[in-house]
Each structure stands twice: as structure tokens, then as C-alpha cells.
């Protein structure tokens, strides 16, 4: 392995550790302090426990700040990892699932941290950072051979358009992950009445705003993909499963956007559609595992 590639992998290792610890901090903050109180009953035979009751109280914000700091660390290391790989390969690292997922982590962390700053809420980290850590775990489980750099096969050689196409896909998926986090927290916040979670209106808006980035991005993914297909194969749409999977995801978010105009559909139902949309996005992301077709050569 080339020294740069190895160093890039070490950076990824550091980022993985930072993501896991950051996720723990965020979860601790969102869940709050848990106090288990046991009720005792004094009987003539001694003390008997008759049950316990769990109480949650807000966690110190310092824990969340620590989570944010670690998330920034993770971003810095992951960005460095991708940068080194870019230098080593002489191209943007988006050629196989290892590279694609590594770059995805950078975009996801940027997206999340930007939203965290804009809205000034930290609890969503409790969902996004575990997702990021899960993605890192997935990268660790990929065959080690993918950590090496392969030359691209000829059809993928149109670098610019490929970078735009795939880069926009990463942007779309990461905003959908952020929207999912907002929707999930919305459902938690409204069902379990947790006082220290952000207001449902804020979470609703958070999810919507993420989709206002993700939906145009996914539209562009489909458009740029079509232009690319037209240039490479002479047909801009061929009903390839990977294309139609992305179209499926796109349609789910179109349904979501219509809920915004209807009374009674904002909030709860919208949040469920966002959860479903994210599942569709994951399905599209990992579609290569199920499909053959034109997109199969990326190598999963």
C-alpha cells in the first residue's frame, strides 16, 4: 500500500473513533440523566423492593458540546482521509463503495454540523452521529482490497460529470439523513413529551429545510445522470434499476412536499414519510447489492 493511502486509512480510523465517542455524547445528552428510584417496603421480615420508577432529567449541555467538538474532529480527520486519497489516486475518490462511503461521511458531517449551527440545537446529533458511526462500521466491514486504489474502467472516465453526479447524490443522501433525524426526533418529542428536546415546530421546519436541499439535489442527480447516459450510451433514460430506485426515492419526497400544503398532514404524517423516504434512500444507496444493470460496475 502506498504511504499516502495508508495514512489516509489511519485518518479514517481516527475519524471512526471520534464518531463513535461523539455519538455516545450526543445520545447521553438527548436521553438525559436517568435516575432509577427503588421503592422499598419495610416489612417485619426485613426490606422488600416493590418496584422501581425511572426518571429522566436534562443532561448538562457540556456533554453535547463535547459531542459537537468530537464531531468536528471526526470531520477534520475524515476530510483529511479523503483528501489524501484524492492526492494518491489523482482523482476524486468515488470509484467504489469504500471511497463513495468515505466521501459520504465527509458530506454528512458537514451537512449535520451546518444544520446544528443554523438551528442551534444539538439533540439531532443523537441520531445523525450513530448513523455516521454505522456507516464507518460498514466501511470497516468492506473487503480490505477496496482500500487499495484501482484505475477506473473506461465508462467511468468522464471524471467531471461523474463527480457532479455522484457528489450531488452524496449531498442528497446526507440531507435526507438529517431530515430523517429531525423526523425521528419529532416523533419521539411528540410521543414521549421530553421537555428538553427542541420544539416540534422547529424539528418540522428542520426536516423540511433539509429536504429543500436534498430534493433539488436528487432532481439534479437524475438530470445529470441522464445527460451522462445520453453522452455515453445514446439514451438518457433506460429504466435501469438504479435509476428507477432513485426515481422511487424522489417520488416519496414529492409526496412529502405536498403534505406541507395540506392541513393536518404537516408534522406527524410528514415525519413518517421522511422516515420512509430515508429508508428508500438507503435502498437506493445499497441498490448495487441487488441490481445488475449499467451501474453494477462501481463494485460494491
Amino acid at each position: 500500500m502506498d504511504a499516502l493511502v495508508r495514512f489516509s486509512f489511519y485518518c479514517f480510523t481516527a475519524a471512526s473513533i471520534a464518531m463513535v465517542t461523539s455519538a455516545i455524547c450526543y445520545i447521553a445528552y438527548a436521553v438525559g440523566r436517568v435516575q432509577v428510584r427503588q421503592a422499598r417496603l419495610q416489612t417485619s421480615a426485613g426490606t422488600a423492593f416493590v418496584g422501581h420508577d425511572t426518571r429522566f432529567t436534562p443532561q448538562s449541555v457540556a456533554v453535547a458540546r463535547f459531542g459537537t467538538m468530537l464531531a468536528w474532529f471526526a470531520l477534520a480527520f475524515q476530510a483529511l482521509s479523503v483528501l489524501l486519497r484524492t492526492i494518491a489516486a489523482g482523482r476524486v475518490p468515488l470509484a467504489n463503495m469504500y471511497e463513495f462511503s468515505s466521501t459520504f461521511l465527509v458530506v454528512l458531517l458537514v451537512m449535520y454540523l451546518v444544520f446544528e449551527r443554523t438551528y442551534g440545537v444539538r439533540q439531532l446529533g443523537a441520531i445523525v452521529l450513530p448513523l455516521a458511526a454505522g456507516m464507518a462500521a460498514y466501511i470497516w466491514l468492506l473487503p480490505a482490497a477496496m482500500r487499495e486504489i484501482d484505475p477506473l474502467i473506461p465508462a467511468l472516465q468522464s471524471i467531471t460529470i461523474m463527480t457532479i453526479h455522484v457528489g450531488l447524490a452524496l449531498l442528497a443522501y446526507s440531507t435526507f439523513a438529517v431530515a430523517f433525524a429531525a423526523a425521528a426526533l419529532f416523533l419521539v418529542a411528540t410521543h414521549w413529551r421530553v421537555a428538553w428536546l427542541p420544539s416540534p415546530d422547529l424539528l418540522d421546519d428542520f426536516g423540511f429545510r433539509a429536504v429543500t436541499i436534498g430534493f433539488p439535489a436528487l432532481s439534479l442527480v437524475l438530470i445529470v445522470g441522464s445527460i451522462w447516459a445520453h453522452q455515453a450510451w445514446g439514451a438518457y433514460w433506460s429504466w435501469d434499476p438504479k435509476e428507477t430506485a432513485a426515481l422511487f426515492t424522489w417520488l416519496i419526497y414529492a409526496v412529502y412536499l405536498h403534505t406541507r400544503t395540506l392541513r393536518g398532514w404537516r408534522g406527524n404524517r410528514g415525519a413518517w414519510i421522511l422516515v420512509f423516504g430515508f429508508a428508500a434512500a438507503i435502498f437506493t444507496y445499497y441498490g448495487n447489492y441487488f441490481f445488475g444493470g449499467l451501474h453494477a460496475y462501481g463494485g460494491v
Partner: protein, 495 residues
């Protein structure tokens, strides 16, 4: 609008009118549109999974589903009638929905209702209150100027000693939804135009030095001037180029060099390099010495039963009254030696001639082994294997819908960007006189349960405070969900 009049007149209307009205409302309903899009999504999912092993896994897990799974694989969803029908319904819905929405949206841009009620201001989740020693008219003028400074349009209307204010920004962005939705129809139109008037020739084989008509009703033909390829050290073709000329009615139009990923475009036609292979140049002359045929035959489209591994070609030559099958030496005779019955050597071609039509110069099929450069008589003809050459395989596609697709893509993305990034913000207010000759302005945003809208209102209030130089009392009626039942209530009361 349409609904209100419908309700009042329903008794006096004839059935046809009712049907038209119901249909119209069906197509205008966003709820129905959502159901249509959801159904489309389901069909797309069914079609997507058809390209995967998922249905098969279901059948393995639950054997009784096998017939359904088989039908699933057999159903070409994307070219099916239900799919096309649904796309048509959605297109009609978009068109009707647009016609229905334009007047209302235009009115809210051009002539918004300025008057509001004290009830609206009282019940708003958020509002701001300015008290001033100025007269109502003076306060209204001053506030309008200050609001306008923040990029809002501020309108006023006096009624019963009070002045009602309406302010908005990005009002034209509300039109963005129209190019977006119409782009969806345009994309389908582009697809239909391409399917109806376009073509896609996947295997257009052209030997070096020869010329061929493009066909498909065009008067174009293509001549391959030169073909070249480069190999990597491992002997894999690294790159290959075709230098060709496009001709109309035999007159050269344009020349170009194409390689994989570097196609050539002429109008709405695109020429792609897809592959290459071996070709053989054959010549047929008659007894008088006239050349009846001379062209290169690309080898490889056809494989002979006698020699399955060998490159071969078959062609009808009406000008000579024969059909020719040419088989080249097997590149890899070890592959199936028992089938290689021709034992051709390099520099030889096996030729099978068959009579074509009753006036053919040969009476019955002939089999000949040709040596390069040596003419062989066959009936009244003389046949020569001149030389070997290469052919280039092109793809030719004509996509007349592509420019519609580009235009639609632009409208789609631009429409979305305008709608999402320039949200129409609206504010209402009333200036009323206070005892003692002063006045009071209460402002509230039309942003129910809209967090961003309320933030935008807060920013506007901050700006107003600075430019008016007076403090603004802020009233916030949004109750953050406490650790009690209010949290639940928050959802239950969605508007």
C-alpha cells in the same frame, strides 16, 4: 372559489355540470395528487425490484408466492398500460391544477387582501407591538417605510379610523411552482418525442474505407476514413478512434474523430464509438470484367455452424445475384477442434455462395476456399478475397426530444430553487389610535406553525426597532412543550 359556488348552486345544476365539476375537483385535489404520486412510486418500486433478485428471494422463502413472483418478472411495468395511464392522469392533473391555481396565486401577488382582523393578530403565535405618540397615519407611514427598507412590499388600507397593513416579500417566487410542475409534463413530452421520432441503432458496422447509409428515413450516410487503436502492455485495447465523414446525398457534411466517451453530435443525432473488429474486403466481377461488388464485410455478426468460433459474415449481393457467406480462419482452433472442419490457414477465407433469385449466374450452392489476391471463377462470376481490414462498430442515436429534456430540466430545477429558497413571507398588522392622540401598531406573520417564517418575522422586528428607534414589545404564544401533556397537545392541534 369553484367549490363555494358549487355548493350554493348544486340543487339547480344538471348532472353533466355536476360530473364536470367533480372531475375538475378530482384533478385539482392535492390529496388525490399525493395518492397518484404514491401509486406511481409503488409501480416504480415494483419495476425496480423486477431488476433484482428480491422477488426470487420472496418465492424461495414463501414457495406459494411463486406464481405471483413469476408474473412479477414477466411484467414489463414501465411499458405497461397502467403505468402509461397513470402518467397521463398525473399530467392532466398537473395541467388542470395549474389552470385552477394561477388566478388565485396571481391575485395574491397583484391584489392581496390588505384588511385583517384583531382576532388574527390576537391568535397569532407570535406578534410585535409598537406604541407611539404619533397619529395613526404618521405611524403607518413611518412603519411602511421601515418595513420596505427590509425588502418587503408594504401596503396599507384605511378602514374605520384604523389602518390595516400588509407586507410581503418574494411574492413572485410563488410562480416558481408552475415552471416546476409544467417541467414534469415537458419531460414526458420529450420522452414521447424521442420515442416517436428518434431511433437508436446499436450495431452500425462500418469497415475501413467503406460507406453506408444511416437509414431510418434519413438521407445521411457515413464513410469510415480510418480506424486506429492503441493497446496497453497487457494487450487490452486501451483506446480506439474512428475518423469518419458524414455525408448527405453523397456530399460530405462534416468529418469527426470519435472514441469511447467522446461521441460526435450532428443536430439531434449522435454517433458513438462502441467497438471494432475484423473485416474482409471482397470483390465480385462478371465475365466482362465489370465490378459487381466490392466492399468490406464486418466479420463477427454471424457464426458458422461448421466452425462456431470463427468470425464470419453473411451478405446478399443482389447486384451479382448471389448470397455470400464468408468464414475466416478460427482465431483459436483449440477451443472446439472437433467442430473446426474447414482447416483454413491464415490468408485464406472459406466462401459459400448461394443463388439469389431465378436469374442468378450460379445454378446451385458452391463452396470455395479462397487465397488472398487470387480470383476464383464461380459460374459466370469471378470472386476475389482482396485483403483483410477492420471495421468500427458505431451506435447512432437520434434523440429529437433531448432539447425538450434540457429545457424541462432547467425549468424544474429553477422552479424548485425559487420556491424553496425565496419563500413568500407575509405579515399583517393594524395601526389603531390610542387614547391621548397616540397610536399602536400590532404586527403578526402569516406563519402558523412555520418556524422559519417566525424567525424571518423576528428579524424584521429587529430591523424595525433599529430604523424606528422605538422598542417593540414581542409577544410569543408558542408554548414550548413542557414535560407535561402540552407536548402532546402540540401535535393534536395541527391546523
Amino acid at each position: 372559489m369553484a367549490q363555494a359556488t358549487a355548493g350554493q348552486r348544486i340543487a339547480s345544476r344538471n348532472p353533466l355540470e355536476i360530473v364536470i365539476d367533480r372531475t375538475w375537483r378530482f384533478f385539482c385535489s392535492v390529496r388525490v395528487a399525493m395518492a397518484e404520486i404514491a401509486l406511481l412510486a409503488v409501480l416504480v418500486l415494483i419495476g425496480t425490484l423486477r431488476g433484482s433478485s428480491v422477488p426470487d428471494s420472496i418465492a424461495v422463502l414463501l414457495p406459494f408466492t411463486r406464481p405471483v413472483v413469476d408474473a412479477w418478472y414477466a411484467w414489463d411495468v414501465f411499458h405497461s398500460l397502467p403505468f402509461m395511464g397513470l402518467l397521463t392522469v398525473i399530467s392532466v392533473a398537473i395541467a388542470i391544477c395549474t389552470i385552477n391555481r394561477v388566478p388565485g396565486i396571481w391575485a395574491s401577488i397583484a391584489h392581496p387582501t390588505i384588511a385583517t382582523t384583531h382576532g388574527f393578530l390576537r391568535n397569532a403565535e407570535r406578534s410585535g407591538e409598537i406604541t407611539s405618540p404619533l397619529s395613526p397615519a404618521a405611524l403607518a407611514t413611518q412603519s411602511r417605510a421601515a418595513i420596505a427598507k427590509s425588502g418587503y412590499r408594504a401596503l396599507a388600507d384605511e378602514r374605520q379610523r384604523e389602518i390595516h397593513l400588509y407586507a410581503d416579500r418574494f411574492r413572485y417566487a410563488r410562480l416558481g411552482t408552475f415552471p416546476f410542475h409544467l417541467a414534469l409534463i415537458l419531460i414526458l413530452v420529450g420522452g414521447i418525442v424521442s420515442a416517436r421520432w428518434g431511433f437508436r441503432e446499436m450495431e452500425f458496422m462500418l469497415a475501413e474505407g467503406s460507406q453506408r447509409a444511416v437509414g431510418y428515413g434519413t438521407d445521411l450516410s457515413v464513410r469510415l476514413n480510418d480506424f486506429s487503436e492503441t493497446y496497453t502492455e497487457q494487450g487490452i485495447a486501451a483506446d480506439y478512434h474512428s475518423d469518419f465523414t458524414l455525408l448527405r446525398d453523397g456530399e460530405p457534411l462534416e468529418s469527426a474523430i470519435i472514441s469511447p466517451n467522446h461521441p460526435f453530435t450532428h443536430g439531434d443525432m449522435t454517433f458513438y464509438q462502441s467497438g471494432f473488429g475484423q473485416a474482409v474486403v471482397m470483390q465480385i466481377t462478371d465475365v466482362a470484367g465489370n465490378v459487381r461488388f466490392e466492399d468490406a464485410l464486418p466479420l463477427g455478426q454471424f457464426r458458422s455452424a461448421d466452425n462456431p468460433e470463427a468470425p464470419a459474415a453473411v451478405i446478399d449481393v443482389p447486384t451479382a445475384g448471389v448470397s455470400m457467406t464468408v468464414i475466416a480462419p478460427d482465431e483459436n482452433p483449440r477451443s472446439q477442434p472437433e467442430l473446426d472442419q474447414l482447416n483454413l490457414r491464415s490468408g485464406q477465407m472459406y466462401l459459400l455462395l448461394r443463388p439469389l433469385g431465378p436469374s442468378s449466374p450460379i445454378a446451385e450452392p458452391l463452396a470455395i476456399t479462397l487465397n488472398q489476391g487470387t480470383p476464383v471463377p464461380a459460374g459466370d462470376l469471378s470472386i476475389t478475397f482482396l485483403r483483410e481490414t477492420r471495421f468500427s462498430a458505431l451506435q447512432i442515436a437520434r434523440n429529437p426530444g433531448i432539447s425538450i429534456f434540457y429545457a424541462a430540466s432547467f425549468l424544474l430545477v429553477a422552479g424548485l430553487a425559487v420556491t424553496f429558497y425565496f419563500p413568500h413571507r407575509r405579515i399583517r398588522g393594524i395601526v389603531s389610535p390610542t387614547p391621548g392622540g397616540g397610536s399602536k401598531l400590532v404586527l403578526a406573520p402569516m406563519a402558523r406553525r412555520d418556524w422559519s417564517g417566525q424567525q424571518a418575522f423576528d428579524r424584521l422586528l429587529n430591523n424595525l426597532e433599529t430604523s424606528l428607534g422605538a422598542p417593540i414589545a414581542r409577544i410569543d404564544r408558542v408554548t414550548e412543550p413542557p414535560a407535561g401533556a402540552a407536548g402532546r397537545q402540540h401535535v393534536a392541534t395541527s391546523p
